[in-house]
């Protein structure tokens, strides 16, 4: 579904990613974990076109989309719930969701039943349903995160990138976010999840990649990584020792 091969990218003259390769198969949840500054968010930005990769392939459905503008990559079937949520704060929750389906309105993606999908996503996120006419800027951090995820779903994408969905949220909301990710997984939605909560991410994922200083240092089935002593020590706080 999504295959990244030898991706080099950075900001200005500073190279952050030194050849990232990873694969997100259809219907699977893949997680990218690593410490602060490892390059996780940069990887996401390079995949979705927010920054242009210096070299490397980003294959989406067998088509190389590396270097295209972000709107083209989105239309090719990639939705992104970005770090920091980035909801449209002066617009209502409903309008935010509607905009998630923008490529479906313009015919760039199969239309389907947009209205039904909107109702469905409000059912999936009951907190948003209560606040559907409120301006997105007035939502709490957790609600904005739900909105960012629901908005990404509205595209009916082939792959969803979730960048730090738990960032800055209260523990109870973090749990809710991961519950929702599990539900989406059960529906067969393909996801690439970037997380600092490595343990939680590996619990919901099928496969994991560990990033260090702009490189993939380790990868394997999520269960295996969870029990890997090195991963355990570095990213899981040794929690599994007990």
């Amino acid at each position: 579904m999504l295959t990244i091969n030898g991706l080099y990218a950075g900001y200005g003259k500073v190279e952050v990613l030194h050849g990232i390769s990873l694969e997100v198969p259809k219907g699977k949840v893949v997680t990218l974990i690593g410490s602060n500054g490892a390059g996780k968010t940069t990887t996401m930005r390079a995949i979705c076109g927010m920054i242009k990769p210096k070299s490397g392939d980003v294959q989406l459905n067998g088509k190389n989309v590396a270097g295209l503008d972000s709107h083209r990559i989105a239309r090719a079937g990639l939705a992104h719930s970005p770090e920091g949520r980035r909801v449209f704060s002066t617009m209502s929750v409903r309008d935010n969701l509607t905009l998630g389906a923008f490529p479906r309105f313009t015919g760039a993606r199969p239309k389907g039943d947009i209205k039904a999908d909107l109702e469905k996503s409000l059912e999936l996120f009951p907190r948003l349903k209560e606040r559907q006419d409120q301006l997105a800027g007035t939502l709490s951090g957790g609600e904005q995160q739900m909105l960012a995820m629901a908005r990404a779903l509205m595209m009916n994408p082939d792959v969803i990138l979730l960048d730090e969905p738990s960032m800055g949220l209260a523990p109870i909301l973090v749990e809710e976010v991961f519950r929702i990710i599990l539900r989406l997984k059960a529906e067969g939605i393909t996801m690439l999840l970037v997380e600092q909560f490595a343990a939680a991410a590996l619990n919901v994922a099928d496969y994991g990649y560990v990033m260090e200083n702009g490189r993939i240092s380790l990868h394997g089935a999520a269960d295996k990584l969870k029990n890997d002593p090195a991963v355990n020590e570095a990213y899981l706080g040794g929690a599994n020792k007990h």
Binding site: C48, P82, S89, M91
Partner: protein, 296 residues
């Protein structure tokens, strides 16, 4: 009292023209953080093209005033696209933060000179599409064209607002204004949205031009002062608020006509500009401007 009312009515008509031009500044500022400082020239070109189509210059009139309006707006839109492509896009692409200021001013001067060469240096009367005989409201004499200016100005702003709120393309414009990067992630071609906002901005200015032309004289110099004062209006009202543009426009328009009569025409621009200084000192985001709060 009658004369006061009459001056107020004139001020309202003038103020609504300022409001439409100020609204045009807001449109491009919202989507791109840039402005076309040649907004007044967009108005002037609109008025002169309208004159050539519906007036008795260049062998005209070719079509009637009302049919001319959509054509002039189309011309305005094309003009906006040219300004954006030549003056703004290159500067934004090269991350030259202020290049667009000089380039839009430069284009404005060029358009003014071109207009001078085509239509001459002298001001021309724009034939009024309606009777110029005034009618009386509460003892004040009002021209039908003044009423049309107010209604037309409100209508165009309302139409843009409705488009932004109701249509998916309008929502894409608002989304781009909110967060351009995030809008790109939704599959919105934000570069196209910016070009579109320039087209819309110049189209509204051209529309304002053909509205105001029958009340004033038409000529290559008509836009400069209007554009500048409308910029003051946009700052007074706030660069992010449509209501601010209207209120700011009315304040400046009425202040001008009253000062012009009661004090001296030489001082008519002073109160509005004093207000501008006052607003900048006290509330720099404008009377209705919002200071954005960002959650982190």
């Amino acid at each position: 009292m009658d004369i006061f009312l009459q001056l107020t009515f004139s001020g309202i008509a003038l103020g609504m023209i300022y409001a439409v031009i100020a609204f045009g500044y807001q449109l491009t500022f919202a989507t791109s953080g840039t402005l076309n400082f040649g907004q007044g020239e967009a108005l002037m070109l609109g008025a002169l093209v309208g004159l050539s189509l519906a007036g008795n210059v260049m062998g005209g009139p070719y079509i009637n005033y009302w049919l001319m309006i959509p054509l002039v707006m189309l011309f305005g839109a094309l003009h906006g696209v040219v300004v954006e492509r030549i003056g703004v896009q290159p500067s934004v692409k090269t991350k030259n933060e202020f290049g667009w200021i000089m380039s839009t001013i430069a284009l404005a001067i060029i358009f003014k000179n071109v207009a001078e060469n085509i239509w001459g240096k002298d001001d021309i009367t724009f034939p009024s599409p309606v009777s110029t005989a005034p009618f009386e409201i509460f003892g004040a004499r009002v021209q039908i064209m003044q009423v049309i200016v107010v209604v037309g100005a409100l209508a165009i702003m309302l139409a843009v607002e409705m488009f932004n709120r109701k249509s998916i393309y309008g929502k894409a414009v608002v989304a781009t204004a909110n967060d351009s990067d995030a809008a790109g992630l939704m599959g919105i071609n934000t570069a196209q949205v910016v070009t579109f906002s320039y087209a819309l901005s110049s189209a509204t200015a051209a529309f304002a031009g053909v509205l105001v032309a029958p009340l004033t004289l038409t000529g290559s110099t008509m836009g400069t002062a209007l554009g500048l004062k409308a910029f003051a209006v946009a700052i007074i009202g706030g660069l992010t608020s449509g209501v601010g543009a209207i209120v700011g426009g009315l304040i400046l328009g009425i202040a001008e006509t009253l000062t012009g009569y009661y004090i001296s025409t030489g001082y008519k621009e002073v109160p509005g500009l004093l207000l501008l200084l006052l607003v900048l000192a006290i509330k720099p985001s404008g009377l209705f401007g919002k200071t954005t709060i960002k959650k982190v």
